[in-house]
Symmetry: C2
Subunit: 478 residues, 2 copies
Amino acid sequence: MSKIFRYEEVMKRVEEVINGLALKPGDKLPSVRKVSEELKVSHKTVLQAYALLEAKGLIVSRPRSGYFIDTVSTGTTMSQDNAIIPLPAVVELNTMATTMMKNARVKGVINFSMLAPANELLPVSRLNKALNTALAGMGVDNYQYPMVTGHPCLLKQIARHTLEWPNGLPVDKILITNGCMEAVNLCLDILAKPGDIIAVESPTYHGILESLEIRGLKAVEIRVDNTTGLRLDDLSVVLATYKITACIFMPSCHHPLGCSMPEENKKQLVRMLGERNIPLIEDDALGELHFEKNRSLPAKAYDGYDNVLYCSSFSKTLAPGFRIGWLSAGKYQAAAQKLKWASNISTTGILQEALGRFLESGRYPAHLNKLRLDLQENVSRYLSAVNRYFPQPVRIHMPAGGLSLWIGLPADVDTLQLQRKVLEQGIGICPGHIFAASQIYNNYVRINYGAPWSARIDKALKKAGSMISQTLQMKTIS
Amino acid sequence: MSKIFRYEEVMKRVEEVINGLALKPGDKLPSVRKVSEELKVSHKTVLQAYALLEAKGLIVSRPRSGYFIDTVSTGTTMSQDNAIIPLPAVVELNTMATTMMKNARVKGVINFSMLAPANELLPVSRLNKALNTALAGMGVDNYQYPMVTGHPCLLKQIARHTLEWPNGLPVDKILITNGCMEAVNLCLDILAKPGDIIAVESPTYHGILESLEIRGLKAVEIRVDNTTGLRLDDLSVVLATYKITACIFMPSCHHPLGCSMPEENKKQLVRMLGERNIPLIEDDALGELHFEKNRSLPAKAYDGYDNVLYCSSFSKTLAPGFRIGWLSAGKYQAAAQKLKWASNISTTGILQEALGRFLESGRYPAHLNKLRLDLQENVSRYLSAVNRYFPQPVRIHMPAGGLSLWIGLPADVDTLQLQRKVLEQGIGICPGHIFAASQIYNNYVRINYGAPWSARIDKALKKAGSMISQTLQMKTIS
């Protein structure tokens, strides 16, 4: 706590210095050195204060030029009324997420809050067939304890799938897990102890924040650009300021923003962390769902440091219900295997073999192509409906991949209250509250577009839009 | 460390007092009060010193009479040359167990080290059928994320299975897990933080010790009687001596001993811990595999305190490879659900539905009866072969249930070395080293009798026996 007050005080004094100069939008700020001398604090502290002001949208940094008063007064930052304060925060999301999932499963609910493709978009009958083959064939082996690392048939196919990477995953560097979240959790258990600081994105997947919460880890939140993903300049400031134990990022098809880091940025990220020996836990669960012609490879593909712990799964592309993911943990692979064994012995073999056989058939790339086209079709439909039905101004970006629209509503809409109201009307949405420990997205909402477009969905989005309008009207009246 | 030395010193002085009295076997020891006055230490400390001497096999306690010099000089204690010191120990098992599992899976190895019934003893074709029905029916739902608590069909059947218990498990107090080990691990994560002391049995299942190890928890080990299971008098001393965060016990079909606590002892255990508000994590994975006419109910069945966290699975009775277990965590149920979600979202639904449908068919009790008879047939064959082929003296007890024989070999056999030697001959056994943090069972070996008797098994046990004899002869020569 003391640290927070110290920084707040520094911030206040830095702001006073700047205000005293009566600068106009576009004016250059005094140099870091000058302010540090004036306030008798370290360069690092001023650098961080500037980063915080930038995060607030008050100033902007220009590479090799310095800091300037922002020329855009509103609309460009993620949130105007809540400052993004990248100070390590104890994560407290309570049971919001689980309660939400439970609610959204009530029969008849149009569920925009589950992040998965609908059954119509999954190769259900082919997977059933693969499962039957696994059962009929040498499936009897699958009744015994599976190998801790995974079913050989699936391991081989995952390795094959990464052959084109500059640094592909060899079979003996893959560990099958109960979905991507188990992979991430194994990484955290290997790397971090309570009180450690983990760098995450802002916003980020709420499951990651819950993983930090249950371990008593602190989150330092780094902004994500709508187009180019993780802001490396922010990361740089954070790395210079705090002792970061590990980073958890989604460089490809970020969730919930849907953006991907350019290849060069990924390479730089791997370098920045590799040189500092700070492990990168890469969550690539959505990486295959890009809307470009070719997938931009994950950061792991460029990992010459053996420093990236790569987590992925088939939950967003083939079968959410199978709960099959994998981990390639670089130099931590042996530790991961040991921990997996102690956690739950191994992952069920039958479903691994079914997935392995499906991949073996060579149909995965074609399925992925079709899935991407379907999702692109969905996203354009959903996007135009949101723009049509939701009260303006709505902040929304065309995602470059993934399964969700991240929608900024007017600042005085509390989306947790909204979520409760629309659920009464049989509509499930995901409030922004759970996407940052600092809860700065309380007027944001995540809408999943995994279900094919239909009149029912159109009606539900229209209803949601009119309920947001009502909320705003009531606020104006009161 | 300082604590260990303090107790060791007290021990030494207590031993000096006793030796100074020149007592003969059968003589009564001075009272706890007298020794505590003489040594100027607390009653509790003397009580513990006496418990340690008893654990060493030097003295015996007789209820309501006091302590006496043991009349039996050798053979009755678990181990002569290694004292059982129930001082909290940092658990360090290294990767022995996982390496072992890997080795034992090499093709052609006769594997006595995997604790599971062989396929011949499992209802494989009926389970396949149930799985096909689940796939063909409303199975398509199973491709989506399962409910965090579990598939309704399986939850209902598990609840039904406990209807006869005085305190059965209602559907909303059951959480499906990835096997019994995930259940135990969820409990530890809810209850304990690094450095806490957990009471476990000695010997105990090595998976439990690994779970303590990866969390930096300390184990205090409590002896298990071959016939009546956990020694409640020892537990009483430990509870009076240490701040115990939780206990992990196997009151029914203990692994590796195969013994079960009498009903009265289970009730007393629940009471002892309930009154002190020390949670009991009950591992009942093998509880159904008893050789009596009726199963002795788990401790949870008598839990009027909501203080027992009950962990079980279908791994030892139906399908080890499905990795499906469950947890009923008493007053910690909500915390368990939340943690499960953050750990891996939920357990795969398809296999849950298959198990649910199998149970629904009503065939489970008949399968269990047959399995028990098969295992009893196995155990008598294995037991007589071990007595025939292994060099005497062999310490071995007829188990009252479970899947393993726990065999004490002559004190100078190191079973880890033995394990390596017999593996070269294609035989997989499990060395006693991994069944206690204090590594006092280094001359014990666990032999699993889950595979039906055959000439091949007979030959393998004969070979193992002759290799033990060779080891002993070499020791005698050298």
